[in-house]
C-alpha cells in the first residue's frame, strides 16, 4: 500500500471534563478520567509531531478544553510549531483574563457552542443553570478582543423551530461564521435519539431558514449547514474518507480516525504514549482498516460513488448494522437501510427525558 496523504487537521481532545451535560455530546459513552489525561509535555510532543507530518490546523476541544490550566501554554506551543489554532469551547469558563491569556498565546479562532437561541431551553439542554447567559458574555468578550468567532448550534427536535432566531443571534453577536449542525446519532446522540431526532417538516424548515439567511448575509457571515443523514438517500463522506484528512487524539492519548471510533470492536487503539504520531497514521490497523476502497463490501464496491462518499460512516454502520465493515445504513442501497427508516417511524410523539452526558450515566 502506498503511503497515505498527510493529515490536514488534528482534533486535540484535552479532557472529557465539562461543566455542561449536553445529551448529544460527541464524546464516547465511557469518558476518560482526569487521572489518566496526557500531561503538558506529552501534548507538546503531539503538536510538534503533527506539524512535522503536515497537519495545518489544530482544534483544541474536549470536554471543555478551558478546564485545562495549561491551555495557553499549548496554544503558544502550537503557534510556534506553525499550526493554526482553533478553540472549541462551551464558553462558560471564559473570563477577561483567561481570554486575554489565550489571545496573547497566539490563538487564531474560537468556536463557541450554544444550545439554543433562548436561555430557558438552552440551560435545560446543557443541564446547567445560567450557562446561556455566560455564553452571551463570552461572545461579547471574544468579539471585543477582535478574535474571529464561529457560533455552533447543534439542532434537534427540541430546538429546530428556533433556527431563524439562532441565525439572528449569531449576527447580533458579530460572528463571522455559524454552524447549524443537526445532531449526529452516535454515542450519546444515539442513546438520546428519540429525544432528539427531528421530523421531516422540521428538517425542511431548518433548510429553508438557512437558505434565506445565506442570501441575506452573503459576504458578511458564512453558514455551515450539516443535515441529519437519517433523512438522506446517500451517506456523507465521513471525515473526508477514513484516515485521509483527519486525526483525533483523546484525553488519554489514543489516536483515532474520528471521535466515535472507540466503538469499533476487536482492535487495539494506538496511543501517543507508545508510538509516534506519523507511524500510527501510516501503519496502525485502526487507520489502515478502512482507508481507501479495498475493504468495501457490496453494494459499495461496485458503486459509482465509492470515492465520493467512501462508504459513509463506519461508526454508523457499526451502530445500526452491527458491523463496522458494512455499507452505511443511511444509503438507500444498504441491506440495513430499514434500521434508519424504522428509527424515524418509531419516533415517539412526545420526546422522552434526556439522558445527560456525565461520568457514569451511560
Amino acid at each position: 500500500m502506498t503511503a497515505p496523504p498527510p493529515p490536514m487537521s488534528l482534533l486535540a481532545e484535552l479532557t472529557h471534563r465539562c461543566p455542561l451535560q449536553c445529551p448529544y455530546c460527541s464524546n464516547p459513552l465511557m469518558l476518560d478520567p482526569r487521572t489518566q489525561e496526557l500531561g503538558t509535555a506529552e501534548w507538546q510532543r503531539v503538536l510538534d509531531e503533527a506539524a512535522q507530518m503536515g497537519v495545518l490546523q489544530v482544534h483544541f476541544s474536549g470536554g471543555e478544553p478551558m478546564a485545562r490550566p495549561d491551555l495557553p501554554e499549548l496554544v503558544r506551543h502550537a503557534a510556534k510549531a506553525g499550526l493554526y489554532s482553533n478553540l472549541i469551547t462551551s464558553g462558560v469558563l471564559i473570563r477577561p483574563d483567561s481570554l486575554r491569556a489565550l489571545a496573547d498565546a497566539g490563538l487564531d479562532h474560537i468556536q463557541l457552542s450554544f444550545q439554543d437561541a433562548q436561555a430557558t431551553t438552552a440551560d435545560r439542554i446543557a443541564n446547567m443553570a445560567g450557562a446561556h447567559a455566560k455564553k452571551l458574555e463570552a461572545a461579547r468578550l471574544i468579539t471585543d478582543e477582535g478574535l474571529p468567532l464561529t457560533l455552533n448550534f447543534v439542532i434537534h427536535r427540541q430546538n429546530a423551530e428556533r433556527v431563524p432566531a439562532m441565525l439572528e443571534l449569531a449576527e447580533q453577536l458579530g460572528a463571522r461564521r455559524v454552524e447549524i449542525a443537526h445532531t449526529q446519532y452516535y454515542g450519546w446522540g444515539l442513546l438520546n435519539r428519540d429525544a432528539l431526532l427531528p421530523d421531516r417538516a422540521q428538517i425542511d424548515a431548518t433548510t429553508e431558514a438557512v437558505n434565506a439567511a445565506r442570501t441575506r448575509l452573503a459576504g458578511r457571515m458564512s453558514i455551515d449547514f450539516v443535515t441529519p443523514d437519517y433523512y438522506e438517500d446517500r451517506p456523507k463522506p465521513c471525515m473526508g474518507g477514513w484516515g485521509q484528512r483527519f486525526l483525533n487524539v483523546t484525553p488519554t492519548g489514543k489516536v483515532l480516525p474520528c471521535h466515535a471510533a472507540e466503538t469499533i470492536p476487536n482492535i487495539t487503539f494506538p496511543n501517543v504514549r507508545d508510538a509516534g504520531l506519523a507511524a500510527i497514521w501510516e501503519e496502525a490497523p485502526i487507520f489502515t482498516l478502512f482507508r481507501g476502497t479495498q475493504w468495501m463490501p457490496e453494494p459499495c464496491q461496485s458503486c459509482a460513488f465509492k470515492e465520493e462518499d467512501w462508504g459513509g460512516c463506519r461508526c454508523q454502520a457499526l451502530a445500526l448494522a452491527g458491523n463496522a465493515s458494512a455499507a452505511d445504513p443511511v444509503c438507500h442501497k444498504s441491506p440495513d437501510h430499514q434500521q434508519v427508516t424504522q428509527a424515524i417511524a418509531s419516533r415517539p410523539q412526545t420526546p422522552p427525558p434526556f439522558r445527560y452526558r456525565r461520568f457514569g450515566n451511560a
Binding site: M8, Q57, G82, Y84, H109, L147, P148, T150, R176, S222
Partner: protein, 98 residues
C-alpha cells in the same frame, strides 16, 4: 464586517488579511495555503504571488506594478487578475479592504 462592497475594489485599495486568516507555506506538501477559521485552502501559484505582497500598507496598484515587473507581463492582464482575486477573497472574508 468587510467594509466597502467588493465591487469598490480599485488600484487605490489597500487590502490586508483579516485577523484569523493568513498565507502559509506548507513545507510538507510544498504548496501555499490560506489558513482561515476551521479551514485551510490551497492557494494556487498566482494567488500565492499576489498574497505575498499583501502587507496592509501596499495599494493594489503597487502590487500590480511589482508583479508586472517580476513576470515581465502586460500590466492590464496582471491588473485584471489581481482585482478579481482580491474581490473574491474579500467576499470569502479572507481579506479586508477598509
Amino acid at each position: 464586517m468587510t467594509g466597502a462592497p467588493a465591487h469598490s475594489i480599485t488600484e487605490t485599495t489597500v487590502p490586508r488579511f483579516a485577523r484569523g486568516t493568513r498565507l502559509q507555506y506548507d513545507r510538507v506538501r510544498e504548496m501555499w495555503f490560506i489558513q482561515a477559521p476551521e479551514r485551510a485552502f490551497h492557494a494556487d501559484p498566482v494567488a500565492a504571488e499576489i498574497l505575498q505582497l499583501v502587507d496592509g500598507t501596499r495599494t493594489l496598484g503597487a502590487v500590480i506594478d511589482l508583479l508586472a515587473q517580476k513576470f515581465d507581463a502586460p500590466r492590464p492582464v496582471i491588473a485584471q487578475d489581481v482585482l478579481a482575486m482580491v474581490a473574491e477573497l474579500a467576499e470569502k472574508q479572507v481579506l479586508l479592504h477598509a
